[in-house]
């Protein structure tokens, strides 16, 4: 389901308040099919709040999201899996709860897609952080959503695990899945995202490609991270 602008997900003027504090101040974003969108910003910018609203975990105080939460896959920052169950049992449980028509087929497909087929009978508690995160993402993909939300997917992973994770995510996007992720790692945004959304203090400061962000700063000798910091300074953050 695409919007009039050809977007598979569109959020308009999202507002979220926690008491007197306004965590999101009319934030909008749009993502096309197969697009990788990175949400970046300093701590407390509202990245996780925005993702949780898109995922339907929190209700916004204002604004709208074009898709219902049931059509969106969501992968929390910390692996939401049961350590005492095996990889296959975790997938099977969530596939049944997702009411997937053929549970075993879906489980086998996800094991194949995540490359965890040889670990299917291992308890998740015995997996490495990277593999656990792959199970975490696989669960988010069980219902074959067109849009997948990832909250800090590479946090707590070593460089090798991160590389394998991004390879996997890249394959998803190449297959047509729109992936929206939040990250603290600005290089990951530059390297993998087609679109970056910069949030600071609940405001959307920028939405465009990494190159456009660098051009906005106007200093050609800066790398992306330096350009991002300079951009925030220019905007008073």
């Amino acid at each position: 389901m695409a919007t009039e602008r050809g977007l598979v997900l569109e959020a308009r003027d999202i507002v979220k308040r926690f008491g007197d504090r306004e965590a999101l101040k009319g934030v909008s974003l749009g993502a096309s099919a197969g697009e990788l969108v990175a949400i970046i910003g300093p701590n407390g910018a509202g990245k996780t709040t925005l993702l949780s609203i898109l995922a339907g975990i929190q209700r916004p105080d204002g604004g709208s999201v074009s898709r219902s939460p049931s059509e969106i896959g969501w992968v929390p920052q910390q692996a939401a899996v049961y350590g005492k169950l095996t990889v296959a049992e975790n997938l099977r449980l969530f596939a049944r709860l997702e009411k997937c028509p053929d549970v075993e087929v879906v489980v086998d497909r996800m094991l194949d897609q995540t490359g965890l087929g040889d670990r299917r009978d291992d308890p998740v508690a015995e997996l490495s952080g990277g593999n656990r995160q792959r199970v975490n993402i696989a669960i988010g993909l069980l219902a074959a959503p067109e849009v997948l939300l990832l909250d800090e997917p590479s946090a707590a992973l070593d460089p090798r695990q991160r590389a394998r994770l991004w390879e996997f995510i890249g394959a998803l996007a190449a297959g047509g899945t729109t992936v929206i992720y939040s990250t603290h790692n600005v290089q990951e945004a530059e390297r993998y995202a087609a679109q970056v959304v910069v949030l600071a203090d609940g405001e959307r400061l920028f939405a465009g490609s990494p190159r456009e962000l660098e051009q906005t700063v106007g200093a050609s000798d800066l790398d992306f991270e330096e350009a991002f910091v300079a951009f925030l300074r220019q905007r008073g953050h």
Partner: protein, 445 residues
């Protein structure tokens, strides 16, 4: 919801140590509490010295023989006698703590009883280092001396009645080995009346003899009434016991109800609070409630799982208990109803604890900390504290599922009181704790 239930059972199956602790600990605690309540204190060890020579142990009250040693033996049913050879040894044993008390029967006991000039005295020494045990020994010996007094009074009354009968009807009496004839009032009346009849009509002695005959008749008539009066002296006050509150549950059967309730409480509270908190610790809560299962459904699943496990443990426990205590299996449906409602009540309270604490360790700790005071408060009997404090305790107990579960199980197991009110109470508590748990989930993740 059944998939979640199966998942939780699978997790429990893979946590054998946790399950063993969860099952064994409540059972051990429950059995210990049951023992503590059902078993009275052991017989106290009491040093015993009988200084009365064997030949003098029989009391001779004008020919009526009473074996005093027979009454002395009765006390041994309640104490564990430690025979000593002297009063000094008895006192030394009390001082050393070897015995809790010493009971000395002096040599002149039977002489004093025979003389009837005053009460005979036994000497008792106590060790009061442990006030509870000392009180128990005092009460035991007092009760036994009272029983012996009552038994002897009956014998004395019987002898007194024989004397009165002798005075009334006449007969023979032995005193110091010599037998004497006693005329008796009846014969005296007859003699006087015969003498009166033999006198001339105008004899002044005739009316005087008439007065004596009248006195003899009146005295005889009134002596007949004395039988009842003397019988009443033996036991002037008797207790006619009627139970106002509570049932007629024997202590052992009540202990069974307590043991099962304690077990049900521990298993359900710890399991329900723990498995709910585990959903948060595994970070799965938000994933689950994001359209896969409703928050209320999740709570219901946790309550149901905890209740099912606790009921299974409780039934196993009851089956084990029937090896030692007789239980009416014909009332099984009522047991089950009480266990189900009790399990749901504790389960709802457990998820409320899990929802508020949000961490498995904190949930388990809080569940444990609440459990014991909740149980002990419900077991405080009326009269143990002031009425105001007792009312406060009653109100607090009513806020938790232990008391109504105990009442329901006691009714189901022992036919004690109505089962309807406790079940209704449990249904209300289940609802109330369910609401608290549901509200706590607003901030759960």
């Amino acid at each position: 919801m059944r998939w979640l239930l199966l998942k939780d059972l699978q997790i429990l199956r893979r946590s054998p140590l946790l399950v063993a602790l969860l099952v064994l600990y409540p059972i051990v605690i429950a059995v210990l509490i049951g023992f503590a309540i059902s078993r009275g204190p052991e017989k106290p060890r009491v040093a015993f010295l009988n200084e009365v020579p064997p030949a003098a142990s029989e009391l001779d009250l004008n020919g009526q023989k009473i074996d005093v040693s027979k009454y002395g033996q009765e006390i041994f049913s309640r104490i564990d006698p430690v025979y000593v050879n002297s009063e000094k040894e008895a006192v030394a044993k009390v001082k050393s703590g070897d015995v809790l008390a010493a009971l000395i029967i002096p040599a002149d006991l039977t002489q004093k009883l025979e003389a009837g000039t005053g009460p005979a005295t036994v000497r008792v020494y106590y060790n009061a280092e442990d006030p509870v045990k000392a009180q128990f020994v005092q009460d035991t010996i007092k009760a036994e001396v009272q029983d012996a007094n009552t038994a002897l009074t009956k014998q004395f009354t019987k002898i007194a009645l024989n004397y009165l009968d002798l005075i009334s009807k006449g007969g023979q009496i032995s005193i110091f080995g010599k037998t004497f004839d006693v005329l008796g009032l009846a014969k005296a009346q007859a003699i006087v009346q015969a003498s009166q009849a033999s006198l001339p009509a105008n004899s002044p002695l005739k009316s005087q003899l008439g007065q004596v005959a009248n006195f003899a008749r009146l005295a005889r008539d009134n002596l007949d009434l004395s039988n009842g009066v003397l019988a009443a002296v033996g036991t002037p006050i008797r207790a006619d016991q009627k139970i106002i509150n509570g049932g007629t549950t024997p202590l052992d059967a009540f202990a069974v109800a307590i043991a099962v309730t304690v077990s049900l409480m521990f298993v359900t509270l710890l399991l329900a609070s723990g498995i709910l908190a585990l959903e948060r610790e595994e970070n799965a809560f938000l994933r689950l409630v994001r359209g896969l299962v409703s928050r209320t459904g999740l709570l219901a699943e946790k309550v149901g799982l905890a209740a099912i496990c606790a009921i299974a443990v409780s039934l196993l426990m009851l089956a084990g208990i029937t090896l030692f205590v007789s239980l009416e299996w014909g009332r099984f449906p009522l047991w089950l109803v009480a266990l189900v409602l009790g399990g749901l009540g504790f389960g709802a309270m457990g998820v409320a604890i899990g929802g508020v604490t949000r961490e498995v360790r904190a949930a388990s700790l809080l569940a444990f900390m609440i459990s014991l005071p909740m149980a002990f408060l419900a077991l405080v009997p009326s009269g143990a504290v002031s009425s105001g404090l007792y009312n406060v305790i009653k109100v607090i107990s009513a806020l938790f599922p232990f008391k109504p579960t105990l009442d329901a199980l006691n009714s189901a197991l022992n036919k004690s009181g109505s089962i309807g009110m406790p079940l209704l109470h449990l249904a209300i508590l289940t609802l109330a704790f369910g609401v608290i748990a549901r509200l706590s989930l607003q901030r759960f993740a």
